[in-house]
């Protein structure tokens, strides 16, 4: 099955399959980043995360982001998949694969891509806390 280079999906992500797509004899460096559901945020214990997206716009923004990253860092490949719906602790909410001739570009590209995702890709996180209660996360703030 053809794996899309960018995707927003309501099912577990498959970093191994995405890494295989970066197979390229020009790539001396392949970086696989998984952003995983973490059990705390500041001082609160988190039990569960759930993500919502404006799906069609999120895919468009991820496509733009991928194109920009490929050009900016001279990548041989770039794949970005984001999960929505409930993401249990330890599971990946986002997987980014970057490949380049040398390691610096692919490492830097992942950091840059994650920064831009947190700036302009329309996806929102909701946290449920162990002590009870839930809140939306907006940028760095909780509501």
């Amino acid at each position: 099955m053809m794996i899309p280079y960018v995707a927003v999906m309501n099912s577990p992500l498959d970093p191994v399959a995405l890494r295989a797509e970066a197979h390229d004899p020009r790539a001396g460096s392949v970086v696989v980043f998984e952003g995983c559901a973490r059990n705390h945020h500041d001082d609160k214990d988190v039990e569960l995360l759930a993500y919502e997206a404006f799906e069609s716009m999120a895919v468009t923004e991820l496509e733009k982001l991928r194109t920009e990253a490929m050009e900016r860092f001279g990548l041989t490949q770039c794949i970005i998949h984001h999960r929505i719906g409930v993401v249990p602790l330890c599971e990946a909410a986002v997987v980014v694969v970057t490949a380049s001739a040398h390691r610096k570009e692919s490492f830097e590209a992942v950091v840059w891509i994650m920064d831009i995702i947190k700036e302009r890709v329309p996806i929102w996180k909701r946290e449920r806390y162990t002590e009870g209660g839930e809140s939306w996360v907006e940028g760095e703030q909780r509501h």
């Binding site: 984001h82 986002v94 947190k118 302009r120 996806i123 929102w124 939306w136």
Partner: protein
Amino acid sequence: MLTVLCFARYRELLGFDRAEFPLGAEGTLGELLADPRFASLPKDALLAVNRTFVDRQQPLKDGDEVALMPPVSGG
């Protein structure tokens, strides 16, 4: 007609997720958002028309899809 979509916390804040609004005399998104129904919309809201980020000066036309979005928190 305009379609207005609200996401995440804004659904509860504004009380709808999708609504149709007649294209009134308002020429820009800012003028549409001056309607009292949008009074609770936070100043830092992200705005899009037809899935492209815009600001309040964006002119509106019949059939446009307006999205009202909180600051994002993916990743």
